[in-house]
Symmetry: C2
Amino acid sequence: MGKHYDELIRLSREVSDYSSIGAVLSWDQETYLPPRGARARGRHLGQLSALAHRLATAPEVGAAIRGAEGEKLEGAAAVNLREIRRSYERQTRIPTELVRELTETSVAARQAWKEARAKDEFPIFAPFLEKLVALRRRYAEAIGFDGEPYDALLDGYEQGMTAAEVSRIFDGLRPRLVALAAKIRGARPLRTDFLHRSFPAPGQARLGRRVLELMGFDFQAGRFDVSAHPFCTSFSPDDVRLTVRYDESFFNAAFFGLMHEGGHGLYEQGLPSAHEGTPAGEAVSLGIHESQSRLWENQVGRSRAFWRHFFPFVREEFPDALRDVTEEEMWRAVNEAKPSLIRVEADEVYYNLHIMLRFEIERGLLLGTVRPADTPALWKERMEQYVGVRPDTDADGVLQDIHWSGGMIGYFPTYSLGNLYAAQFLAAARKAIPDLDERIGRGDLRGLLAWLRTNIHAHGMTWRAPELVEKVTGEAPNPDYLVSYLERKYAEVYGI
Amino acid sequence: MGKHYDELIRLSREVSDYSSIGAVLSWDQETYLPPRGARARGRHLGQLSALAHRLATAPEVGAAIRGAEGEKLEGAAAVNLREIRRSYERQTRIPTELVRELTETSVAARQAWKEARAKDEFPIFAPFLEKLVALRRRYAEAIGFDGEPYDALLDGYEQGMTAAEVSRIFDGLRPRLVALAAKIRGARPLRTDFLHRSFPAPGQARLGRRVLELMGFDFQAGRFDVSAHPFCTSFSPDDVRLTVRYDESFFNAAFFGLMHEGGHGLYEQGLPSAHEGTPAGEAVSLGIHESQSRLWENQVGRSRAFWRHFFPFVREEFPDALRDVTEEEMWRAVNEAKPSLIRVEADEVYYNLHIMLRFEIERGLLLGTVRPADTPALWKERMEQYVGVRPDTDADGVLQDIHWSGGMIGYFPTYSLGNLYAAQFLAAARKAIPDLDERIGRGDLRGLLAWLRTNIHAHGMTWRAPELVEKVTGEAPNPDYLVSYLERKYAEVYGI
C-alpha cells in the first residue's frame, strides 16, 4: 500500500501478538493453573499488558498513522487505518495518571464488592462505586462525546452506539416484553422436572462435542475445556478455545453454555486469516459478538426444529434421565420462562428486562441524576416493575454483577443488543434460506453457518455494528424482530 | 546491594519472565494446542525468544554488569553477578549472523532428519550434519575454549565440565558396565510377561498421582498432563508442569516416566523462591537436573524397598494384570536388563553405553577426526562393541535421536552425568539417613526429599556441578558409585 501503512501494520500486529500471548496465559489461568501458580501468572500478565499498551501508544504509531493518511488507502487498508487511528486516539487521550488510578481503584473495589456481596452490606461497596463513577466520568470527558458521558464509555464496547439509541431500542422492547411475561405467568406451568435429574459430565462432554461439530466448529482449530466461568478466547482464527462448566444435576447449564460459547467461537474461526492481527481481521463489537452466541444458543438451540434432530442423541446419552420425556416436552422445557432475581439465570423473555434496569441506573450515575447510595432501592423498585420480583437482599440485587466493581460501566447494553441483532440477523437468514427450519430439523446447519460467514464473519471490522446490521438486514437495529420472535415462540411453547 | 546490581536484577528478571511466558506457550503446544494453531504459536514463540534475546544482550546489561562489579557483592548477589556475566559474555560473543544461520540450518536439518529417518536414507541428512558441525565449530571458536572445541559446547549444558573429564569418567564406567552386561546375558532371563498386559490409562493416572504425592510433589504448585513426549517445565517454583504418555500395554512407560519427570519437578519446586528469575534461583545444570530425575526413577523407583511399599497399590489398581505376580517378581521385572538398539528404551545397565558412543562420535566430529559420512558405520561398530547388538538400519542407528538435527552437539553426556551424580548423591544421602531403605519400605520418602532440598535444591546455581558434587558428597564426580550400585543390584536381581 505504502511504506507508512506497512509500518503501521507491522506495529499493529506486534501489539496483537502480545495480546494473543496474554490470552494464552489467561486461558491457562482459568483452566489448568495450579493454585499457587497465580502469583507469577499475575506478574506475567501485567508485564505483557504493560508492553502491549506501551507499544500501542508509542509515538511511532502516531507517526505511521500520519504518514499513512497521505497514502490513499482503500478497502481493508482504509478500515485498518480508520480503526487503528481511533484506538490510538482513544488510548492516548486518557492521561496515564487516570489509567493508573482506575486500575488501582478497580483492584480495591473488586475486593470491597466481594466482601459487600458476601455480607450483603452495600455500604462497604458504596464509596468505591462513587469513586469509580467519578473516574469513569473523567475518562468519558477525556475521550469526549457529543451527547452525554455514557456515550464515550458505550462507544468503547459498541462503537457507533449511543445512550439515546439504546434508550429508543429499549423503549420499543420493554412494554411488549413486560406484557409477554405477564401472559406467560398466567399460563399453565411446563413440566421441567427431568432437566434436574442426573447428567454425568462425561456424557455431557460427548454431547457438547457432538453439537459443536454439528454447528461447524472446527476442532482442528479449537477445543473446549472446563473452567469455573465459561468463556471463549482466541489466539488466532486457527486456535479458538471454549470453556464449559458441568452441572451434573441440571441439563441446560453446560449444553446451552457450549452452544453459546460455540457461537462466539464460530465467529472467531470465521474471521479472515489474511487480516489476522489487524482490525480488518477482528470482531466488530461486543454486541455483534454476542449476537453470534445468542443466535446459536437461543434462535437455533432452543428451536423446535433443532430438537427434532437432536433429541435422539440426547436420549441415547441419557436414557435414564429422559426415559419418560418426549421430544416436544424437551423442547418446551428448555424454553421455560419465569421471573428470577439473577441476570445470568434469566431466560429469553426476562433477560433483557434485567439489562434495561442496569442501563438506566448506570446512565443516571454518569449523568449525576442517580446517586450511588440510591442504587439499592432503585434496583429493587425497577426489578418489581419490570421483572415482577423484588430481591430481599442487595447481594441478590445491586451487588449481583461483577462489572461495576471493575469499572465496566456502559457494558451491559451489549448483551441486549446481541439478542436484538441475533433476531434481526436470523430473520434475514430465513429470507435467504427459505427452508431453514427443515434443514435444521435434518441436522443440516451448514447453510446457516455459510450465510453468517459470508455476511458477517468475513468482514472483520469493515463496518461498525449499526452499519453492519443495516447492510445485512436492510434496516437499522429494530427491536421488533426480537419481540415478534419471542411472542411467536412463546405462544407455541405455552399454548397462549 | 547497590544500584547497578539492583538494575541488573531487574533486567535479569524481565528476561526470565519472558522466557517463562514462552515456556507456558510451549507447554500448551505440547499438551492442548489444536493442530492448526501451530502456525500462530510458532510466530508467538519466535517473537518472545527474539525479545528475550534482545533484552538479555542489551548494552544496559553490560553497563549494569560493569557497575555491579564495583559493588562488593556477596552470597547470592555474587552468584548472580557471576552467572549473569557469564551468560551475557557467551551470548554476546556469538555473532548475530551465526545465531541466525544456526537457527535456519536447524529448521531445515530437522526436516531432512525426519525424512532421512523415515526412509532410512542417511545421505539425505548428511549434508545438514556437515553444515551443523561446521557452524557449531565456529560457535565454539567464538565462545573460546582451553582444551578442544567440544568443551565450549558442553560448557553450555554442563558448566565446568570438559571433554577430557567426561572421557575419564566414561573410561571408568565402560569396562565394568560391559562386563556386567555380559554376566547378565549369561543369567537366566526374568519373567516380565505381565508388564505387557492391559493397563488402562485412568488407572495409570491414579497411580501416577499417588506416586508423585508419595514423592512429595506439591499439586498446589504443579500438575501433570498428557503429551507425545514426556517432559517437565516450570513457570516458577510454584507452577511446575509434568507430562506423561500412557502405553496401555506396557506398565513401565508412564509409571517410571512420571517418577522421572517428577524428580525434575521436585527440583524445580525446591528452588529458592526468593531468588526466582535470577541464577541463584535456577537449576545448576542439565546433569544435576538429570541426577534428580534418575535418582527418583531408578535409585528409588526401581529399588526393592520401594516395591515393598508400593506393590499393593499397583495390584489394587490392576488386579487382573497382576493376579499371578508377587512383589518380588514385580521388582525384578522392572529391573530387566537387555541389549536394545534404542537409547530411550535402554535400561540402567545399558543406557550409559549408548551415551558413550554418541559422545565419542560427536567429539570426533568437532575435532575433525570423524567425518559426518563415516558416522553410520562407526555407530554400528561401536554398538556391537559396547551394547552387543548391531542395528540393521540407520533409522535404528545414527538417525535415531533428534538432538544433532537441532544443532545440539555436546548435550548427550549430561544424561550419563546425571546417572553418575544420582548414584553418588544417594550414597551420601544413605550416610546421612542410615535407615533410608527401611523408610522407603514404609513409604516414607520425606527424609530423602528433605535431604535433597537442603543439600541441592535450595542452593540454585551457587556452585557449578563438579563443585556441588564435591560439596555434597565429599569427592569429585566418581563413576564407582554408579557401577557399584549397579553391580550390587543386578547381582540380586539376576542372582549372579
